[in-house]
C-alpha cells in the first residue's frame, strides 16, 4: 500500500462535496470536499505500489481542466488511469449537481 499527496493551485471555491465509486477490484473511491484554502490537494491511498509517476500524469492532466479548491481523497484498488479519470470526472459532476441543488433549495 502506498500513500501519495499532490498539490495544485485553484481559482474558485468548491461549495459541495461528493462521493463516488467503491474500493473494489479495478475500481476506486473518490471523496471530494471543499478545501479550506484556495488550493487543491489530492491524497491517494493505493493498493498498488510504484506508480506515483502515473498518478502524477493523470492528475496533472485532470487539473489542466479543473480549477476548484477541492480536497480529494482517493482510495484505490488497482484502477487503471482511464477509470481514475472517469471517476474524477464523475465526482466533479456529482459535486456540481449537489451545489446547484443547494442553491435551488435556498430560494
Amino acid at each position: 500500500m502506498e500513500h501519495l499527496t499532490f498539490d495544485y493551485s485553484a481559482q474558485r471555491a468548491v461549495k459541495a462535496r461528493s462521493h463516488v465509486g467503491v474500493v473494489g477490484s479495478g475500481d476506486l473511491e473518490v471523496l471530494l470536499s471543499p478545501n479550506d484554502t484556495m488550493a487543491a490537494r489530492v491524497v491517494v491511498n493505493t493498493s498498488v505500489d510504484g506508480y506515483s509517476h502515473i498518478w502524477k500524469s493523470v492528475l496533472d492532466r485532470f487539473f489542466t481542466r479543473y480549477d476548484g479548491a477541492a480536497a480529494i481523497e482517493i482510495n484505490d484498488f488497482g484502477a487503471t488511469p482511464g477509470v481514475v479519470a472517469l471517476r474524477l470526472a464523475e465526482a466533479i459532476e456529482a459535486a456540481e449537481a449537489a451545489e446547484s441543488q443547494n442553491q435551488g433549495g435556498g430560494k
Binding site: 500500500m1 462535496r17 462521493h19 467503491v22 474500493v23 473494489g24 477490484s25 475500481d27 473511491e29 471523496l31 470536499s33 491511498n45 493505493t46 493498493s47 481523497e73 482510495n75 484505490d76 484498488f77
Partner: protein, 303 residues
C-alpha cells in the same frame, strides 16, 4: 403474399438491483426522497485493521446505514457493499449494522416502531478482522432476535455474492427473507466445501449444481426463504413492502427446532437431491406461518 405479423412482446424494463451499489440499493428500498445516510463515507469511520495488513480501506467500511420510510413508516436499511472485500463483515461495518439494529430496537421498546431491513451481500466475517467480526455478527443476531418481537425483520439476498458464514445465520433469524434466483444462501460457500471436503463432495465450478443446492429458487421452494423475486429494484422494494405488511410471523423458523429436526431425520445424506429436500421441507412446513409462506413472484411490467 403476406406473412402474419407477430405482435412484439411487451417491453419489460427491469432496473437491475444486483448491479446497484449498496448505497443505491438502500435508496431504492426507501420511499422516494426519504433516504438519509448515517455514519456515511465523510465520517470516515474506517477499519483500523486493514491498513496494518496493507489493504486499502473504504470510507464507509462497506456498510451503508440509512434511515427513511417504507410505506410511510419509519425504517432503517443496512446494506452491505459486495464489491469491497467481498461484503465481508469487519469490526466497523459490522458494528454499524449491529448499532443500527440496536437503535431500532430501543425505538421499538419505547413504542416507536422502526422497520428494519437488511441487504445481505456477504461472504461472512472478514478474515483479516477475525474475532472482532465474529463478535459483532453475534451482536447483530441478538438484535435481530430481540427486534422481531416488535416488528418483522426483513432480509434481502439479491446476489451475486450471496450470503454465507455467520451472516447466513443472521439471515436465517430474519422474519422474512427475499431472494432472487441469482442469490445464494448457505453456511459454507461452495469453494470452501470443495477445498475442505474434496471435489468428490462438491464441484464448486458446477454452477448448475451449486444453484440447485443453495440458490434462491431452491431456498424458497424448501421454505428457507419466503419470496422469490425478479432482479428488479421495484419488484424487490414491493416484496419488502409485502413482507412488512404481513407482520411478525406467529413462529419464526428458528423457533421451530423440533419441527426442523424431525424433517432432517427424514433426509438420507447418501441419496439426498434438491427435489427430495424440497419435498421433505415443504411438506412439513404446513404447521406455521413462517416456513409455509407462499412464493411471491413479483414481476414488474412497465409500459
Amino acid at each position: 403474399m403476406t406473412s402474419p405479423v407477430l405482435a412484439p412482446p411487451p417491453f419489460i424494463a427491469n432496473e437491475s438491483f444486483i448491479e446497484m451499489t449498496a448505497r443505491e440499493r438502500a435508496r431504492a428500498l426507501l420511499d422516494k426522497g426519504t433516504f438519509r445516510e448515517l455514519v456515511g463515507p465523510f465520517d470516515r469511520i474506517m477499519s483500523p485493521w486493514l491498513p496494518l495488513q496493507g489493504i486499502v480501506c473504504q470510507a464507509d467500511d462497506g456498510a451503508v446505514i440509512a434511515r427513511g420510510t417504507i410505506d410511510g413508516e419509519p425504517a432503517v436499511v443496512a446494506a452491505i457493499e459486495s464489491a469491497f472485500q467481498g461484503g465481508s463483515i469487519g469490526e466497523v461495518s459490522g458494528s454499524k449494522i449491529a448499532a443500527a439494529l440496536e437503535l431500532a430496537l430501543r425505538d421499538c421498546e419505547n413504542g416507536r416502531l422502526v422497520r428494519p431491513l437488511i441487504v445481505f451481500e456477504t461472504g461472512g466475517v472478514r478474515l483479516q478482522e477475525a474475532n472482532l467480526g465474529l463478535a459483532v455478527i453475534a451482536e447483530m443476531q441478538s438484535a435481530i432476535v430481540a427486534l422481531r418481537k416488535y416488528v418483522p425483520v426483513v432480509g434481502i439476498i439479491p446476489g451475486m455474492v450471496g450470503c454465507f458464514g455467520g451472516m447466513s445465520l443472521a439471515a436465517a433469524l430474519c422474519s422474512h427473507l427475499i431472494m432472487t434466483r441469482q442469490g445464494r444462501l448457505g453456511m459454507n460457500g461452495p469453494e470452501v466445501i470443495e477445498q475442505e471436503a474434496g471435489i468428490e463432495e462438491l464441484d464448486a465450478s458446477d454452477r448448475r449444481l451449486v444453484w440447485q443446492l443453495i440458490g434462491g429458487a431452491q431456498r424458497v421452494a424448501a421454505g428457507f426463504a419466503d419470496a422469490l423475486v425478479e432482479d428488479d429494484a421495484s419488484a424487490i422494494a414491493t416484496a419488502a413492502h409485502v413482507a412488512f405488511a404481513r407482520g411478525v410471523p406467529s413462529a419464526h423458523r428458528s423457533e421451530q427446532v423440533d419441527a426442523y429436526l424431525a424433517r432432517l431425520t427424514r433426509i438420507d445424506p447418501q441419496n439426498v437431491t434438491p427435489e427430495s429436500m424440497r419435498a421433505v421441507f415443504r411438506a412439513g412446513a404446513g404447521d406455521d406461518s413462517g416456513a409455509a409462506a407462499p412464493v411471491v413472484r413479483t414481476t414488474e411490467e412497465k409500459r
